[in-house]
Point group: C2
Chain length 347, copies 2
């Protein structure tokens, strides 16, 4: 799927400063040069760089009407609610954007092209609705071929959803390219796809074919590829999404893994009563699940420290290094060099 958009307005009402704005935040950080405005009336007028870690100075406005002054060509839905429905209060905003001639980019499970009202409006206005979470249908079952890949295929696993797996993978990809490596970023979720202009919305794929979709993409990279940074999905500890995670582990059969975690989180977010195991046990569980498939090691930890101070972040990093013996850093805050230094050893 190729997204032909250049002047993006992101709809992030009420969620620019919270977790569910992760699509907005990811696009702002890694594709901010194409964003002309962000809609979030709760943050309007503020300097975006005080809210989101991005180098791009993008105006925050309180309505679509205001955003139109910046001559956008598209409206990108920047939140990711559980279940992936479009909240009813934003239906009108999306319809208005269509009437104004904007293309729509959505990563929701609820496919806007399948909604008769949106489909009719899109046809009338002559615009495109990009449902990036619509996978191409293909009943291919993984055969286990990815275990023979020469490249260092690095899978970003996590303690939970929304803890920074896509971000850590993309930061590592940027650092590897900076060092001159032939590197690929394999996007497996809607935000990654919006940034990379390609990939597979894995959590939308039919159960039996999830691993196969990953294997297919991996087998198509050039043989001289040195790194593939694979965006992780969910967590093997997550009561709702763990199936997607294990399919990704077995479809990719990674050479190495980086464990991603949000500092301070102790249990599955938005659920009750599902605490994390000790981190050495989390690591052992992942390694054991790959042991008889392709022996693979967790070789580093990407810690998301966005909610704590720099001093606290350094303390947390130190704590994780002592507990696990693995190089640990926050690749957004401190750069991905430490992780690439380690990953280079597995080329």
């Amino acid at each position: 799927m190729q997204l032909n958009i250049k002047r993006i307005v992101i709809l992030a009402e009420g969620c620019l400063a919270i977790l569910h704005g992760k699509t907005a935040i990811g696009v702002l950080r890694y594709r901010g040069q194409d964003v002309v405005a962000v809609i979030d009336s709760t943050q309007a007028g503020k300097d975006i760089r005080t809210i989101v870690q991005t180098q791009y100075q993008v105006p925050i406005v309180s309505s679509l009407e205001e955003a139109l002054k910046f001559q956008p060509d598209s409206l990108l839905i920047g939140f990711a609610p559980i279940g992936g429905f479009l909240p009813e209060e934003y239906r009108q905003t999306v319809l208005e954007a269509i009437h104004k001639g904007l293309d729509i980019v959505s990563g929701l499970h609820y496919l806007l092209n399948d909604d008769p009202e949106f489909a009719a409006a899109a046809k009338q206005a002559g615009i495109m609705i990009y449902d990036v979470r619509r996978p191409e249908p293909d009943n291919y079952v993984a055969r286990g071929f990815a275990k023979n890949l020469k490249a260092n295929t690095v899978l970003f696993i996590g303690s939970d959803c929304a803890c920074g797996k896509m971000t850590a993978a993309f930061e590592c990809h940027l650092e590897a390219k900076k060092r001159g490596y032939k590197s690929e970023f394999l996007a497996t979720g809607q935000t990654g796809i919006m940034i990379a202009n390609g990939g597979i919305p894995l959590d939308r794929v039919i159960g039996d074919f999830m691993a196969g979709e990953i294997e297919k993409i991996l087998m198509k990279y050039p043989v001289d590829t040195q790194f593939v940074f694979i965006e992780g999905q969910g967590s093997i500890l997550h009561p709702g999404y763990s199936g997607v995670t294990l399919a990704l582990m077995h479809g990719s059969m990674p050479k190495t893994m980086i464990l991603c975690h949000e500092a301070g989180r102790n249990e599955i977010d938005e659920y009750q009563g599902f605490p994390f195991p000790p981190f050495p046990e989390i690591i052992q569980m992942h390694e054991q699940l790959l042991k008889y498939v392709r022996p693979s090691k967790v070789v580093g930890i990407a810690l998301n420290t966005k909610w704590i101070s720099e001093a606290e972040a350094l303390k947390e990093i130190d704590k994780f290094e002592k507990e696990t013996g693995l190089p640990t850093t926050d690749p957004v805050r401190f750069g991905a060099a430490k992780l690439i230094d380690t990953l280079e050893k597995y080329l």
Copy 2:
């Protein structure tokens, strides 16, 4: 999905005596009273009870034409190829059956209702095509509610696909009912659904919603249910299907587990280079994946000994009991009493 069929012909060409005929075999064994004939030209004329363990004396014929003499009302596709396509050589047989006024029952991933040629023929002939693998769409994500169920929810896990999980679960369900328990059988695959007239084709569900579909069904059983026997899917060791398996584990959060295995198999079937771990390790892996969700134990082993003699079977059972310390039996060959004796302790 309610299947309104009473006089079934099973299409099992070339596969009655092999693993890929598992749909045919399951229906013959547990719903044989509704089967009027089986098509398999390689076995035609033989006594079916010398090939399949069933109490029903069903004629084996070599063509649809012969089968029509038994006045069937439906043709059931009895094989389950990898990827779930309809092999091209059987397209004509299915079309002929439609023209003769037979309903079609298919558990293939390839949905016959979506095939223009079949759909048109069905309409013209006024017959039904039951695609039992078409799930009802519903974007529900599991919330982890199943961990609070009072019933003994028993999940049948396995070392591999097609090793007897559905069969073991159904045999246990029959034994529990015989003992007077309020028991449910939760079918999660096409054969189970064909036998039980309901359930969810889990491997066909979109990744994010697999666990949720299981949770939804479990939460609807009457509160005084004593046993739920949950048909397992795939294996956490399987390179292609493991995601479905873990989703089922987390969606059902079972109170207990029964490990299913085909005696003599040492690695993933039809794959190369994916050996099974030692059985104590397989057990520990499953228990660890549930440890922080709902502590659950593997409490027995269902050994599929169909390919070996009775003397060898008893030896294998003894070996597994010694290696794992768990009660082991082949529920088809020796009955499920031993397993229910154990499972009663967890009511």
